[in-house]
């Protein structure tokens, strides 16, 4: 089994797009889906949800509001799962109830036991 990080990219952060009332049920669906992964014993790490505060640091300069600067996408968060192959990981990702409009970038992880 290999580990893969799922990077959730959104057009807008959920807190900015939805009211708390709208958001609660959406989160609930998301959490249930995560619980399913935990039950299948393929969930490795919850990772992190990311907030709206962001900067991009380049050599010699800092661009504020960075996440939105170059592309109309923002990383909402990431988590790590376990799968036999990237294709298997992709199948898992297809079922993700992404909140709002977005996509999931799946990436393999270099570990020390390569």
């Amino acid at each position: 089994m290999k580990e893969f990080v799922f990077i959730v990219r959104l057009d807008e952060l959920p807190e900015e797009k939805f009211s708390p009332e709208e958001l609660n049920p959406l989160f609930h669906v998301w959490e249930s889906w995560i619980d399913g992964l935990i039950a299948k014993d393929i969930f490795v790490s919850r990772g992190n949800r990311l907030g709206a505060a962001g900067r991009v640091v380049k050599k010699g300069k800092v661009i504020t509001n960075g996440p939105y600067a170059e592309i109309k996408e923002i990383i909402g968060g990431y988590f790590i799962i376990r799968a036999n192959s990237i294709d298997e990981a992709a199948e898992i990702a297809k079922g993700a109830p992404i909140i709002g409009n977005g996509n999931i970038e799946i990436r393999s992880i270099y570990d020390m036991n390569e």
Partner: protein, 410 residues
């Protein structure tokens, strides 16, 4: 040899192995892709290990990452897929998974086949050495540039042209057919000998690098010896020759890095182990009917490892140079023959012979004449040495001759 740091060390030992295997897999037309992929693997290693620590088996980590990169690339690149992958996939159709074989056996085979591909007679010699250093020895572009006393851009251009030539000639990465192997081995030996000489006679002052070039040439020659079908008498003869020459490595430069002439060397510094290894290879070379130029040069080199200064030694050397010149003329052999002649029959006769050589553009010719005239006609000796100085490019060589002139004038 000094201990290299982790990445440079691994680069030197592993780059060539992975590159050879990938290049064999992709075909020579994709040599850059293979090379870039391996370079990229090393950069990833630097970043990943910097972030998370160095793994227990760094070489194995590199192999796995390079393998995955190659697989990923084969899957991703559709153009490449259509052209190349069908063949690769066809061979492993059952598993539907591209296999990249980084076993010791396949690494060894791929490197040998790569050696035959690079030492193709269609590639200019200078480019062959450059490619050999890059692909077979895993030298960085910068190191190659230092070895050739030039800059990175020039080397990059040279390697680029060489690779284009390989593609144009559609050189295959494979063992030559049994019937052709002798012929093809000669090309390989020529390149390996050039590589060795690049280190032995190179004008770069980087002593470590010079020794490295020689050791690499010996390592590649040894690979041919280890392989049954390429373990031919001329290969052993070349190895013997290299051992004999390399035995004088410590003695032929002084602590300041200046060249010490053969006659002035401290013979206690000659490496006896390399000399006896040279003898072993020379014995192994003495099978079959073929007497290659490497046999003769090795025999000459053998005589130079003896401290005996008697006439018998020089008679043997003279005979050998006579034979060598018959097989293959070269200016240096002609000059050396004349020197040996002077030792056997005296300087006057050697001067007569030297005048016939017609090597007016060669500083070594005037150096020889300078030596021959010394004690016979010192004025003429000085004139010749001064002529040599005009033609010499290397500062170290120039200094040697200027010292000689000083002695004669003083």
């Amino acid at each position: 040899m000094q201990q290299k740091e982790l990445i440079p060390h691994l680069y030197r030992t592993e780059f060539r192995k992975i590159t050879a295997v990938l290049c064999k897999l992709f075909g020579i037309e994709h040599i850059e892709i293979a090379e870039d992929m391996v370079s990229d693997t090393f950069l990833l290693a630097a970043e990943t290990w910097g972030l998370k620590g160095v793994p227990n088996n760094p070489a194995a980590w590199l192999y796995t990452v390079a393998k995955n990169k190659a697989k990923d690339f084969l899957r991703r690149d559709t153009l490449f897929n259509q052209k190349i992958s069908p063949e690769i996939q066809h061979s492993t159709a059952e598993s539907h998974e591209i296999e990249i074989d980084l076993s010791g056996k396949n690494i060894q085979d791929s490197q040998l086949q790569m050696m035959f591909a690079i030492c193709h007679p269609g590639i200019p010699p200078e480019s062959q050495i450059g490619l050999a250093l890059r692909i077979l020895c895993g030298f960085g572009i910068e190191e190659i540039a230092i070895a050739f006393l030039t800059n990175k851009e020039t080397i990059n251009k040279r390697l680029f042209r060489a690779k284009e030539k390989l593609k144009e000639l559609d050189v295959k990465i494979e063992f030559p057919p049994e019937a052709e192997i002798n012929n093809r081995i000669n090309n390989v030996l020529t390149t390996l000998y050039l590589l060795f000489n690049e280190g032995y006679y190179s004008s770069t002052h980087d002593q470590v690098l010079r020794k490295d070039l020689c050791l690499e040439a010996m390592r590649l020659t040894y690979m041919l010896i280890e392989n049954e079908s390429t373990n031919q008498p001329p290969v052993n003869a070349l190895m013997s020759l290299m051992c004999f020459h390399a035995s004088r490595f410590e003695a032929r430069t002084n602590p300041k890095g200046e060249l010490v002439l053969y006659d002035e060397q401290d013979t206690r510094l000659w490496n006896q182990e390399l000399i006896s290894r040279g003898e072993i290879y020379l014995n192994k070379a003495a099978t079959g009917n073929e007497l290659s130029k490497y046999h003769i040069e090795a025999a000459i080199a053998y005589w130079h490892t003896t401290t005996d200064q008697g006439i018998e030694k020089w008679e043997k050397v003279l005979q050998l140079y006579n034979k060598l010149l018959i097989i293959e003329y070269s200016p240096i052999a002609a000059l050396n023959r004349t020197y040996a002649l002077s030792k056997v029959y005296g300087k006057e006769q050697a001067i007569e012979e030297a005048e016939k050589l017609k090597l007016d553009g060669d500083h070594l010719y005037y150096t020889l004449l300078g030596d021959l005239y010394t004690d016979i006609d010192d004025k003429k000796a000085i004139q010749n040495l001064e002529q040599a100085v005009k033609l010499i490019r290397s500062a170290a060589d120039k200094k040697l001759i200027l010292n000689k002139i000083k002695k004669l004038s003083g």
